[in-house]
């Protein structure tokens, strides 16, 4: 109970997650590129995705395959017939004023149904999250306003995104705490990356709605959460808000709230959302797709290695600790970097430690500096500069005793700044570790001279020895080999006690 933080069985959280299939070349129903980012408004369009009269949707078969992969990983059942439905409503970002999506009220028609995900990372305890359905649908276009939506005199429509393939995952309200939501979303992001179907780091590639209720109180929907990172924040805020209302005896209204990522709060939706009747019916232009068990097997066979299997392999083949393996696999790019690096230097544990502690530590510090959701993309900029060869050399230089860890971390910064190889940097700044006894002896003697008292203390006190070591390191600008210095200091201490000086 306490192990999963503030988990509270009365708190019920459900998620509705949208992931763009960014790995597809084209949109879901036409041949326009799926990559709409950074293009002039309304240039990534064609008669089909603009809904021009007489055009017909043409299903991207790979989208079905990708969605099926994800459904299988989430342990969903795949219905034997997959059918698309029209969801009818008027909104200017919808070129046809209906969205081609899926709907399970009349039949099990979506790509996946009734999945389960085991969350087993909860410090010893574990729990099951049920997945209600996984469906494939088209992304609408985007609206742009002049400033804020309330003050703008007009809205501009950009259809570049319209028709991009979107997978919607709907969970049951099985989460009891925000950190469970975070664990689940981290897991999902790693799965998406390993399947190679969605790059969650791209802006807008993953979006999330959450619903939160406490006890018998009404359910509140939170929309507009545009990164996985913010979901935990939004849910935490909402639980706190509802609890403090309850504490003051105020009834919680069932409503839709929006996540304001600038202010990090949820705010009441501008207008009360009308109860819409979407008039779902099967899309007549796309015949149902019949899925045989053979098709499912073929998809399974075509799937790349998944996070769970990869962790096992890292533990068994490279003798990594399970924790280290999990941290690597949790972010696919780190695991990939690890596997590429050990081709240059085969001390796997050493390379893994380098990535998990030093590199990741660096990235996280950088991340905290960045602060917002865009940090993961600046991380990817950093990671693009750090090649497997860099990592391998750094680990090798430390292991061979040529540099110490502190120096290596400084070198990492220079690697990121310059892209140079560590061995070259070591030479250029002459940071080879001072391991020449004669050279060191003069510094050691100088320190003993200056710190006579500390030296005498060192005869009986280990702390004083460390103090002396620190002083030697400072005089050598951190280049001294600490092991060697320590042994030299000890030598002198022992010598002094023998002669009884």
């Amino acid at each position: 109970m306490t192990s999963i933080g503030n988990s509270d069985a009365r708190v019920r959280i459900g998620l509705e997650i949208h992931c763009q299939l960014t790995a597809l070349r084209s949109k879901l129903f036409c041949t326009c590129p799926a990559d709409y980012r950074g293009k002039e408004p309304n240039t990534n369009v064609c008669p089909v995705c603009l809904g021009m009269p007489g055009t017909l949707p043409l299903l991207n078969r790979r989208a079905i395959e990708y969605a099926m992969m994800l459904a299988l990983v989430l342990n969903c059942k795949i219905p034997s017939r997959i059918t698309f439905y029209r969801k009818n409503y008027f909104y200017p970002d919808l070129p046809k004023n209906f969205q081609i999506t899926q709907y399970n009220a009349y039949e099990q028609a979506s790509v996946g149904v009734d999945g389960v995900v085991e969350l087993d990372d909860l410090d010893g305890s574990s729990k099951t999250i049920r997945i209600r359905r996984l469906q494939l649908e088209e992304d609408p276009g985007r609206l742009a306003y002049d400033g804020s939506i309330d003050r703008s005199n007009y809205a501009l429509v950009d259809y570049n995104r319209a028709g991009v393939a979107l997978v919607e995952i709907v969970s049951e309200p099985d989460f009891n705490a925000p950190n469970e939501v975070r664990l689940f979303l981290n897991r999902l992001a790693s799965i998406l990356e390993h399947l190679g179907i969605c790059n969650p780091a791209l802006e807008g590639a993953v979006r999330c709605d959450a619903n939160v209720s406490i006890g018998e109180q009404a359910r509140v929907e939170i929309k507009n959460i545009n990164s996985f990172k913010d979901v935990e924040r939004a849910v935490t805020f909402e639980i706190t808000r509802q609890r403090s209302l309850a504490a003051r005896g105020i009834e919680i209204r069932g409503e839709t709230r929006h996540w304001d990522d600038a202010r990090r709060i949820t705010v009441q939706a501008r207008a009360k959302e009308e109860e819409e009747d979407y008039r779902y019916f099967p899309e007549p232009d796309i015949p149902s797709i019949v899925i045989s068990s053979k098709d499912v097997e073929a998809i399974k066979a075509s799937m790349p290695e998944l996070p769970h299997a990869r962790v096992e392999r890292f533990v068994n083949v490279y003798s990594l600790s399970r924790d280290t393996a999990k941290i690597l696999v949790g972010e696919k790019h780190l695991a990939d970097l690890f596997e590429a690096s050990i081709k240059y230097y085969d001390n796997a544990r050493s390379v893994a430690n380098w990535i998990v502690t030093d590199l990741k530590g660096y990235l996280e510090r950088y991340d905290d500096g960045g602060g917002d959701g865009s940090s993961s993309s600046s991380n990817s900029v950093i990671l693009a500069k750090v090649t497997p060869k860099h990592i391998a050399e750094l680990a090798m230089l430390v292991d061979s005793g040529k540099i110490n860890r502190a120096t290596a971390r400084q070198i990492l910064q220079r690697v990121i700044a310059t892209g140079m190889l560590p061995s070259a940097i070591v030479q250029s700044i002459n940071v080879d570790m001072l391991s020449n006894k004669d050279e060191l002896a003069s510094i050691v003697d100088k320190v003993i001279e200056e710190e006579r008292k500390a030296f005498m203390d060192a005869l009986s006190n280990e702390k004083a020895l460390n103090y002396l070591l620190g002083k030697v390191m400072r005089y050598s600008n951190g280049r001294a080999d600490p092991k060697l210095v320590l042994s030299m200091l000890k030598e002198r201490v022992i010598g002094t006690s023998k002669t009884g000086q």
Partner: protein
Amino acid sequence: MVSSSKIALSAYELVEEVKVGSISVEDYIASMIERIGSMDERINAYITLNDHALEEARMIDKMVKGYSNDNGSYATKSLLGVPLAVKDNISTQGIRTTCASRMLEDYVPLYDATVVKRLKGAGAIVIGKTNMDEFGMGSTTEFSAFGATHNPWVYERVAGGSSGGSAAALAACMASIALGSDTGGSVRCPASFCSIYGLKPTYGLLSRYGLISYANSLECIGLMARSVLDLALMLKVAAGSDMQNDHTSIDANSSISLDLESMNHDLKGMRFATIREIVESEGTDEPVRDSMFDALSSVERLGAVVEEVSIPSLRYALASYYTIAMAEASSNLARYDGVRYGYTAQPDGVAWNEFYSKIRSNFGSEVKRRIMLGTYVLSSGYYGRYYMKAQKARALIRDEMLKVLNHYNAIMLPTMPILPPRIGERISDPLRLYMVDICTVIANLAGIPALSIPYSMYNGLPIGVQFMARHLDEPLLLRIAYALESARGDKVRRCMI
């Protein structure tokens, strides 16, 4: 200029003359445009003429005279120089395509429908876009924002619909071949009323890409001509898979053999079924019944056996058809909102919903009626009561039709149960208007091919007879028509010249 007897040539005859150089396509098109200029003010078959038709004609003449680098590839073009009328709900690149609606009054498509592209590729020249009921919703071509089309044979009568403009253009020799669309009889009805051939192909045989959707699961592009051979020629060019544009298109070109010349003119060994519920219906006009019986004895003389069968589910046909068609229409027509193309208005200071209402008030009354009914039958809570039930009835009707076709080569029935009504006579009462589609909608519900054949005339009013066949058995329909073309004798006039 070309003589009027030449204007009435069948397409296959015209192509022969064009290829040997005895007719200049430019002269031919010019004569036809002149004819349209003198006749169409009365008939109102066309909404828009192709400004580039003469230019395209000159190109073909050049090609034939060998002035072009195109080394005789024209010889393989089976519709070389043939003037083609295209219903105004079929997209034509660069020629406005209105669906006879104020909503699309100025809409010019960026692309050709697949079928148009294929016919043009075979040498056909789009001469113009023809009048219709707005978005195909009607059976008389009276519900047009551009005024009703008149029947060339009897001016005060309707031409039928919704492809009335195409049928009238053919009957009046203002085109040689034409495209229509058939959702519940929209090609066959005007074909019957105007005394021409109208083929609704097997669902999927002709790509729907570019056909502006009214009721996707029912409608097809249909072929219209004054002779059976022309129909065969068009079908050969237009049919075929278009999987890169239309998922509902089927790849069946190779299984369809259309060698009519080698066919016998008899129907020996054929077994046809008539449907008791239609033959005995009070809704069938006496002259129509008489003509049907006459056609029946004609096919018997040609060697066919005709028997009567019962299709009890037929009583659900109209309700099923209209429920599905209106439901699909309500969704298909949602895109006309004035944001991206078509009719628009100044949006400043107007909220979205208000803007939509303002724009969409420009639909005609019949379109509004069908959108509202379609919206209603799809509403939650009513879906099971209407739409789902209509789909179940559709499956039942299809199964019964296919069962009959297991035992018979074709089903024989009138195309329209009534003679062409007077203009204004039927449209005031929508239910009475919907009733006349009973003989045609069943082919759309079942997805099977159906052909209306001009068979007789009563007091100068054309009457057609209709055959329906198994999926992809278009060749059989053409063979029946070919045999009847000679058997019907002089009961029918081919066109107004």
